[in-house]
Amino acid sequence: MKSIVPIGIGCLLLFAPEVFAQDTESSFNGLSTLWILLAAFLVFFMQAGFGMVEAGLIRAKNAANILMKNLMDFCFASLGFFMFGYALMYGSEGSLFGTGGWFLLGVESPVEGLPLHAFWLFQAVFVGAAATIVAGGVAERMKFAAYLAYSFIISALIYPIVGHWVWGGGWLSNIGFYDFAGSTVVHGVGGIAALVGTWMIGPRIGKFNPDGSANVIGGHNIPLVALGVFILWFGWFGFNAGSTLGFDNPGQIALIAINTNLAAVSGAIVVMTLAWVKFGKPDVALTLNGVLAGLVGVTAPCAVISPMAAIAIGAIAGFVVVYSVLLLDRLRLDDPVGAIGVHGFCGVWGTLAVGLFAQETLGAPADGLFFGGGWAPLGIQALGVIACLGFVAITMAGVFKVIDLVIGLRVTEEAELRGLDMREHGIESYSGFQIFINE
């Protein structure tokens, strides 16, 4: 008798196309739609990856809070992108932003053969990824309500405008700026927003001493960080390879996949080696960041570079992330999870790498510097980086300032010491365990 329900549901799903048949226009490309939806599901799973990485790198007393921020920023991002963001990003082909398609009404899919809803979902999960990057930078001290407000605004307004410039027919795409899967649009935007937020909210209590030296505030669960990095790596195959927006060129998809993987491994190996040489030990948390650095770095160029180039790009991303972590400490910017280094700095590197390693024969708008294209492509990439990140920096500074005035950005000192899990949510992440301090 118990098996009736699963069998019944199975039958329903089997006959679903007939049951839920809708009016379709001219044929959808089934394989492309399948691929893009699958990729969207993979990128969605990256939310879990971000959540685990962030939770593992902060203290136990704030774990539930950051996971709640991670969960809800995806929810608010989806909503904001549905209501306003998609229209601004893809609604029409203005040079600065689109119009039309508010609440996803009255607009058609911009990709032939791909249903609008599949395209929207794929784009929406990217917005979620960008929004959640900031949670890491401001972790352990940002007010929850303030974070919710931020996540809606960045998803409804800021990200879509940058996305429009690069992918939605805006001015950057018209001058040859190329960012295949979002080193700038997603990671650069998230990283620079995190930088602005981290700078404005100030360091955690006890992070920096009066003489400027930094203290260790250790992550409470390295296994979670490792799990998170593997989830992100897995999801990144959807992030990069799905950005083909179709399945017409399997060779290209395979190239993207191999490039994604090679950049990740080379980032990890370089960071491990650099940390071993520089600090004396193969640093686990930093090496895990190195994987992400390589992945971010290859995100812009992955479709138009050779695998050898991917290795090189991942390797350099490894150097970038290590030195950016040290730089941020010097600048007294407290970034608990390395979001600014991984996403911001490496996002910039990945975008510039297009100007160095891209090949026209693989589909790039122009050859990079190392392939005879001269300095112009690199210059265009740099211009795009400055424009996008400058725009985000200025607008996010304004957004955070307004949020600070209306809601307040930072929790009270007492709440920060007690832990945001209890103070913001009234919950213990690890009820039944005694949370230790070890210093």
Binding site: R418, M422, I427
Partner: protein, 111 residues
Amino acid sequence: MKLVVAIFQPIQLPAVKRALKEAGFANLSFTNILGTVPNMHERQLFRGVEHEVTMFPKIRVEIAVNDESVEQLIDAMIKGGRASGGAGLIFVTELHDCVIVKTGEHGPALI
């Protein structure tokens, strides 16, 4: 010999350690404990059900000293505690003996 036990808030540990080191008491041990704080209670909420929390994290620092050094140690602890918010409670208990395992020595072979 005395065993001096001090209860502090976790955030005070770095300042207390510093003050102790400056006064010459380099060796200490501490445990994490939970304890009540007068007039402090929190509301824990789990899936709509409330629970009153009255036990909060603290640390318990323990140092064994000779009678001559007790006042010095207490002053150092007070200095460290006051430099980091002012909370803290110090208990002085009588220590009857102390034995070092490796050498088998008894008595005031400490500070």
